[in-house]
Symmetry: C2
Subunit: 138 residues, 2 copies
DNA sequence: CATTAAGCCTATATATTTTGTAGGTTTTGT
DNA sequence: ACAAAACCTACAAAATATATAGGCTTAATG
């Protein structure tokens, strides 16, 4: 399941996408609209900024704004940024690969192959669908 | 990601499937072969038993054994039993449905639809693939 | 140029979940 | 009767997720 962090990130991005013509938007505005703790959201927005999705302006009249087009933000990237791996096993993760500690031999692990399929089907969707699609559905 | 519990369950089931002609198999045998804590595995096997996958025999010469054919044990059921929902959001879970607390209106939640697709594609695989497939791959 | 309102940053606190342990009870073969 | 095994419930420890605190930096404005 997606963490709250990731869900909050989607809410914030959606909000910023919806009002992207209004310029910089306050953390506080988003946190109040969605009932998210201000400080928690602050951390999330900062991560999104560092990852290159958001820009910000400090000081009075400051706030956050999207610096990518919504159709350039695949859902997969947001999930990976905030939640980590999308795959169900570390040994089939593309971005967070590690061998499974319990598995003496990954090549002959029966689960491995199935989980590669699950990963691929999941990614087909999450890499194709973007913030744009979310915005259109709301 | 799958929890250790679920991974251990798969290891145990695979082991029991592999040696299903040998009758009851000790917890200890499985736990030693896979480096799993005896007591932790005990709890897992008990759950698998209560869910109808395993049988057991108490007392001397006792142990656990499969009571379903490996091809009657879809991976989805094991994951759900030990890990809970397969879906990425509670509001799209078939077996563990709850409305998302942050979402005022699920019908017009943009994520909802995408996550239904992810769930469906994932389930296509995890309901079709069974312990049998795992055994064949090892 | 002082004040104020905003984001930035790092550390810490709290809550929840996962993982593992303890210890006694029941059952069964010998 | 004894020993070996699963059964059961509760608890402990560790890890992770969620949330908070508090000072720092930046920028607009009267």
């Amino acid at each position: 399941m997606l963490s709250k962090k990731t869900k909050y990130a989607f809410h914030a991005l959606t909000y910023l996408g919806k009002y992207k013509d209004k310029g910089a938007i306050l953390i506080q505005e988003i946190s109040e609209k969605h009932g998210i703790s201000h400080k928690f959201l602050e951390n999330i927005l900062l991560e999104l900024k560092k990852a290159g999705f958001l820009g910000s302006k400090k000081g009075k009249g400051g706030g956050y704004y999207l610096i990518k087009e919504p159709n350039e933000i695949p859902l997969s990237r947001i999930i990976r940024l905030l939640d980590g791996p999308i795959a169900l096993l570390p040994c089939v993760s593309l971005n967070y690969y590690e061998p499974c500690e319990e598995c003496e031999n990954q090549a002959q692990c029966g689960l491995n192959r199935v989980m590669i399929r699950v990963r691929d089907e999941t990614l087909k969707i999450l890499e194709m669908k973007t913030l744009q699609d979310i915005l259109e559905n709301e």
